[in-house]
């Protein structure tokens, strides 16, 4: 996937308030966390709840380590951002601790608060989270459900068998003889007295390790004997086997929940190599409208479908589109994606590089790669086809199947073409490096903020290109005889024309060249007001296209699926 920078209008712009940076400014963060807890308490009840001392102690522990920040999505929902999973775990811990503080039941005081040991309290909470898909609401429910909470096994510990009389004992699992029982090597589960279910420490270590790395919905650890189905507490595993065993369990259970598509509350940034975790609290999304968020590294993606920014097409149609792309025979797909038939002799031609002016190697017919018209009468630039509009919606084949296939091929061609254009523009953007800006700044005595208009402009062109790309995917599904279809394509073309206009200016300005070219440099500086105007024009046109798409989707005029 191509990562793109997307911000189509002022409303969609992120409202950013970074609470916490990478700096070590712990105090400011602690204040914010406290502020957050306070508002939550106000909302839930007017009663001032007194926190359990363990909960306060845990908060102290967490606030020293936690890094996070808040942002708002395009739908104005607030979301929280964590640089990695560890920070997310800390935050969930503190939230669960707060959630349970509001509950008053004997289970909590008997099991969770029984030992004034903050380590035990922390691991019990982790136990709750890991065995309940990291879902706070589920944890709260289970805490109030007498039968379910006991099955969590928080009060059922792994323990060392002390009353073995023999000098040597054979572990029933690995069958090794254990000499000198004072080393306390044989373990059992508190509530299970079956001697065949005893096992040595080494066996339990291997057992927990394997469980932690296997896929599962719930990360309960049961008695090694299997048949007695007793869950045991994470805390006893931590104490007897060591802390790394718990860490692995927690890590895998979180990974499992993050990969679960039914979980709509938190997700990992889909960009390869990015570890950011995004948490949304009150999601009001219908599961269709795209909701865009950007992580701390500014990777922007759709929270609803975990894909790159894809307006104007809604998530559900995008999924159908992508399935269609992946359909069918691989090699046929390759031919389909990479070649076009010569309009004269029908041989499949692959274009490796170069402009749209193509000459068939077999019959020597010269034509335009985009519209298939003869080059002589074509006119226009070598990279841009002026006839898109004319050929775009022509379906004159007979038979519904061929219509649908032709139609798909047609729109897919435009989809790919827009993607290629976007990649070209992104190259320019990537080469618009600081040195060029610095040179301009030195040559014209302007400071860097005064030159921001250039980066803004390129960024907007790329956003708009991305929108054009996905608008072709949307059009594939729509009924072209409907008036709204024409309104949409009209606005789409207005946007496309504007993009081409601005893009041409940017290309002429040699932004990707580091060579000093005072003539073109001067020109681009002179064009500043014009470019600023067009940048906002691009934004406005994108809003319009988005609105038209909204009308298209809401009037349910889609015909092809």
């Amino acid at each position: 996937m191509i990562s793109s920078f997307y911000s189509s209008d002022d409303e969609l712009e992120d409202d950013i308030e970074i609470i916490f940076d990478d700096s070590d400014d712990n105090d400011s963060f602690t204040n914010d966390l406290n502020a957050l807890t306070l508002t939550e308490e106000k909302q839930s009840d007017n009663l001032k709840h007194i926190k359990h001392p363990l909960s306060t102690e845990l908060d102290d522990y967490i606030s020293k380590k936690l890094h996070m920040s808040h942002r708002k999505s395009n739908l104005n929902n607030e979301y929280m951002l964590f640089p990695n999973k560890d920070n997310f775990i800390l935050y969930q811990l503190s939230s669960l601790s707060d959630t349970l503080s509001d509950e008053t039941n004997e289970y909590l005081s008997r099991v969770m608060y029984s030992d004034s040991n903050v380590d035990k309290y922390r691991i019990d909470l982790l136990n709750f989270l890991a065995s309940n898909q990291w879902n706070l609401e589920l944890c709260r429910k289970i805490c109030n459900d007498e039968t379910q909470r006991e099955s969590l096994g928080l009060s059922n510990h792994l323990e060392v068998v002390s009353n073995i009389a023999e000098d040597t004992y054979m572990c029933p699992i690995c069958c090794n003889e254990l000499i000198n029982m004072n080393d306390a090597q044989i373990l059992k589960v508190q509530s299970c007295d079956d001697r065949d279910h005893y096992a040595c420490r080494e066996c339990y270590r291997k057992y927990v390790n394997i469980l932690a790395s296997s896929t599962s919905d719930s990360f309960h650890i049961k008695c090694i004997g299997g048949s007695c189905h007793m869950n045991i507490s994470y805390f006893s595993i931590y104490k007897i086997l060591g802390d790394t065993y718990i860490d692995d369990l927690i890590k895998y259970s979180l990974l499992e929940s993050l990969n679960n598509n039914n979980n709509s509350q938190f997700s990992v940034c889909p960009q390869v190599g990015c570890e950011n975790v995004i948490l949304t609290d009150n999601i009001k999304n219908n599961g269709i409208s795209p909701e865009y968020v950007s992580c701390l590294e500014w990777h922007k993606f759709c929270l609803t479908c975990k894909r790159e920014v894809h307006s104007p097409i809604p998530c559900n149609l995008l999924k159908v589109w992508i399935n269609k792309l992946n359909d069918g025979n691989e090699s046929l797909n390759w031919v389909f994606n990479n070649t076009q038939p010569c309009p004269s002799c029908d041989v499949d031609i692959e274009k490796m590089e170069g402009c749209n002016h193509v000459k068939c190697g077999v019959c020597k017919f010269e034509f335009c790669w985009i519209c298939h018209k003869e080059w002589k009468t074509h006119g226009g630039s070598f990279y841009d086809c002026m006839h898109k509009r004319d050929i775009k919606h022509s379906n004159t084949s007979n038979g519904k199947e061929t219509i649908s296939l032709d139609r798909f091929r047609n729109y897919y061609k435009f989809f790919l073409e827009s993607e290629n254009n976007m990649i070209l523009d992104m190259r320019i953007f990537n080469k618009l490096i600081e040195s060029k800006l610095n040179k301009l700044s030195a040559a014209f005595g302007m400071n860097l903020t005064e030159l921001e208009f250039l980066t803004d402009c390129v960024k907007e062109v790329i956003n708009a290109r991305n929108m054009i790309k996905y608008s072709f995917a949307l059009l594939y599904f729509m009924d072209q005889s409907h008036n709204l279809f024409h309104i949409f394509t009209h606005n789409q073309m207005l946007l496309l024309d504007k993009i081409d206009e601005v893009s041409d200016i940017l290309i002429e300005a040699n932004l990707d060249s580091n060579l000093a070219n005072s003539k073109s440099d001067l020109k681009i500086i002179k064009m500043k007001p014009y470019l600023i105007g067009n940048t906002s024009m691009l934004k406005k046109l994108q809003v319009t296209v988005n609105k038209c798409a909204f009308d298209l989707v809401n009037n349910k005029i889609e015909i092809y699926k």
Partner: protein
């Protein structure tokens, strides 16, 4: 030969010395105690009665933390066993416990032959028949047993 875990040595020794009735285990290669072949008699009161079914069993590196890998070599008509002889049985998957043994697993498989579980099928068409027309299912299963698992009929 790399040193085998005591558990495996002990279990295979026990199986040889004190076999499960109706189930015969062999070690085709004395140098590889992790690979066993099994001859299992079909349980009475089942369409598999009278047949002798061959299985192969492999104890993976992590055994007993991981379940043994086991499959039928003789074809049989059963909703929980597929064409390649793979077996759909909970104790061989997520209900495995290190306290189980080869012996327990083999007994469970023999039991599965007598009591198929069409609600959790590996083969949907067989399960469908087993549920809706049990008599017909038994007939086909008996036919297969006769064809593949009874030595005299092979000639």
């Amino acid at each position: 030969m790399s040193s085998l875990p005591r558990r495996i040595v002990k279990e295979t020794k026990n199986l040889m010395k004190d076999p499960v009735p109706g189930i015969k285990t062999n070690i085709p290669d004395e140098d590889n105690l992790r690979y066993l072949t099994v001859e299992m008699e079909g349980p009475d009161n089942s369409p598999f009665a009278g047949g002798v079914f061959n299985l192969e069993l492999y104890l993976p590196e992590e055994y007993p933390m991981e379940p043994p890998k086991i499959r039928f070599l003789t074809p049989l008509y059963h909703p929980n066993i597929d064409k390649l002889g793979r077996i759909c049985l909970d104790v061989l998957k997520d209900h495995w416990s290190p306290a189980f043994q080869i012996r327990t697993v083999l007994l469970s498989i023999q039991q599965l032959l007598g009591t198929p579980n069409p609600d959790d099928p590996l083969l949907c068409d067989v399960a469908e028949l087993c549920k809706n027309d049990n008599a017909k299912y038994c007939e086909v299963a008996r036919e297969w047993t006769k064809k593949y698992a009874i030595p005299e009929s092979k000639e």
